[in-house]
């Protein structure tokens, strides 16, 4: 596919890299052959399968934390990137997934009617909950999506933000879910093979659980590609480009948007279930608004609509959060210059860089928006849209707006009609064309 307009000459380093990939051969094939399409995915998968054996256990834990957020980012990307619906309350589905896992494995609060003692009975193990949690979140995605369908742009963002706030508050409110305390010491996910038990959420050995997360992430990414390259994916793009034309081409707006909300929420729920099992303890305070913002930032940073982009965005931001900032704090505090009480840099020894997380995110986002708004690995179509090549009908051009516009146009037309004089007997044009 050629992009004729709006292309700039590519920078020299990229041309050189491209040439290198083309000219270097491995087993008779140029390197670029290996780095395209499913082959790249396969290579990545193999790398990720051997990853735990190459690195220390810290990085395995990091990878799990990152993987959970990849699931979230890829899920939200369906809503924001594909369907173009700005959802600021995505944390709701993460919370629902987590609570589904906890409620199932830990059991809801019950009071012993005789002694008044608090008891809880586990209902289901982790494995069925992985499916159930995702489905419950998906259903809530549709339920919460339904009232927002008539909204767009800012209004949609505000209402979804509200849902994101309400859901943790509800979990907090009901004693059924242990209120503000939440649930802790969730039973680990196990697989019992004859006499051999594999514990999937053992804090001392994260490798088995790493593979669970890897499998979920791989499926979510695969599913996301499959959706993008389907009639549904096309319908989402069509809605984003022009709702009225999409509807007139047979795209059911309600159904198509709800599917985006539902599928995005399902993936959010999956991430939540993994989170519950991984952390082993949840409370309503684990689901603040900033989770939604962070996931959204991963998408913007990586490239809206681009699966590899949002995956990379999730890796970068989550790694900064769970690993890098702690390392920076340690490094700075261990630094002799900082340690020295008379050093002007001594104040740094009290700085916890983890506290600066959102500051750093904010600066990154700002730089990104200024210098590379399409993201690190941009989606081809989104890049065109951002550059205004498309000058597509603005996404607010819903039927409602259209109605107002055309009503206005009709009024204006009636107005001008009074002043219209006939063009002349030789003309075969009736008035002028409408626009």
């Amino acid at each position: 596919m050629s992009v004729r307009s709006g292309t700039r000459p590519e920078p020299a380093w990229r041309a050189r890299l491209r040439a290198l990939l083309r000219d270097t051969t491995l087993a008779g094939r140029p390197l670029e052959w290996y780095l395209s399409g499913w082959r790249l995915a396969l290579i990545l998968l193999v790398v990720m399968v051997i990853f735990p054996w190459l690195v220390g256990s810290t990085f395995v834990a990091d990878a799990i934390a990152v993987g959970i957020y990849i699931t979230l980012a890829v899920g939200l990307n369906i809503v924001v990137g594909y369907a173009g619906l700005l959802d600021l309350g995505y944390v709701a589905f993460f919370a629902i997934g987590s609570y589904a896992e906890a409620t199932g494995t830990f059991g809801a609060l019950q009071l012993n009617s005789v002694t008044g003692e608090v008891i809880h009975t586990p209902v289901l193990p982790f494995w069925p909950l992985l499916v159930i949690g995702a489905l419950v979140a998906g259903i809530f995605g549709i339920v919460l999506g339904a009232p927002t369908l008539r909204l767009r742009g800012d209004y949609l963002a505000i209402v979804t933000l509200g849902f994101g706030e309400i859901v943790p508050i509800l979990f907090n409110y009901f004693p059924f879910w242990f209120g503000n305390t939440g649930m802790s010491a969730l039973p680990p996910a196990d697989i019992n093979l004859g006499g051999l038990t594999i514990t999937f959420s053992d804090p001392l050995n994260r490798i088995p659980f790493y593979y669970v997360v890897l499998a979920v992430v791989a499926l979510v990414i695969l599913g996301s590609f499959s959706l993008r390259d389907s009639s549904l994916g096309r319908a989402w793009v069509a809605i984003r480009e022009d709702e009225t034309a999409a509807a007139s081409s047979g795209v059911n707006l309600v159904r198509t948007k709800l599917l985006a909300f539902g599928l995005g929420a399902t993936m959010g729920g999956l991430g939540g279930v993994l989170n519950g099992a991984y952390i082993g303890a949840i409370s309503p305070n684990d689901f603040p608004f900033f989770v939604s913002i962070t996931v959204l930032m991963m998408i913007v940073l990586g490239g809206i609509g681009s699966i590899w982009g949002v995956t990379l965005g999730a890796i970068i931001l989550r790694f900064i959060d769970v690993d890098l900032l702690g390392r920076i704090s340690q490094f700075v505090q261990a630094n002799p210059v900082v340690n020295n009480p008379v050093s002007p840099l001594h104040f740094l020894s009290t700085v916890d860089f983890n506290q600066a997380k959102y500051l750093i995110y904010g600066i990154m986002l700002l730089l990104m928006i200024l210098f590379r708004p399409q993201g690190i690995i941009p989606d081809v179509r989104r890049r065109r849209e951002l550059k205004g090549i498309g000058a597509a009908v603005e996404s607010t051009s819903a039927i409602g707006v259209l109605e107002r516009e055309e009503a206005g146009a009709e009024l204006a037309a009636v107005d001008t009609l009074d002043q219209t004089t006939y063009a002349g007997p030789g003309s075969d044009d009736i008035g002028r064309s409408g626009d």
């Binding site: 050629s2 009639s231 096309r234 009225t244 509807a247 007139s248 009636v414 064309s433 409408g434």
Partner: protein, 262 residues
Amino acid sequence: MANDDVLLQLSGVTRTFGGLTAVDGVDLTVRRGQIYSIIGPNGAGKTTVFNLITGIYRPTSGDVTLDGNSIVGYTPDRVLRAGVARTFQNIRLFNNMTVLENVLVGQHVRFPGDLISIVFHLPNYNRAERAARARAIELLGFFGPSMVALQDEYALNLSYADRRRVEVARALGSNPKLLMLDEPTAGMNDAETAEAVGYIQALRRDFGVTILLIEHKLQVTMGLSDRIAVLDYGKKIAEGLPDEIRTNELVIEAYLGRKAAI
């Protein structure tokens, strides 16, 4: 008035926007196989009539029937499923999609709707995708090999006339019974207009569709239409064969302006 011949019927269709009555009690009867034109001065309510038929607006009162069944209150996609496809006066292509993708969206209703088939690309989905792609090429081929060659071009990069063609191809994707063209020759020069007139006739012949069109150029309308309705200020002031319209005094008055008629 049961008549098998009647495809689309509007009875007393009215639409008001605030205090303005954009369409006022319009009756239309479009018969199968006709090329039927709606003409009228700017702001007469022609496009509003289109929007009322295709479910973008809901009539304030009155009824729209297709094949004898009321389609009032249908959403635009349901109207399409019922067999009515349209183009827009100001061309509404999906600019950042390729020509082929645009025509594929037009065939959206021919794809399986269930999520399982879509996500797993099950055989029924793949069959639909293959058939839709083949059909899209066929539809583009209707406008000549040059359109087929443009299949991977982004819609935005096309010439004006090509954009109109793609929009028609997209509308044909659903195999409509009724094809509604909103000013198919607007903004075209004489040669392009003549070509458009040719393909509109060919559309009826090759696809067996009934065509309802809005047209400003009288020459086009007169030569093309089996029947013409004239709107002015939202009211139908005349209807008939092209020759009847040409000589109708009300029509002449509407077009020449009231001052000329005095």
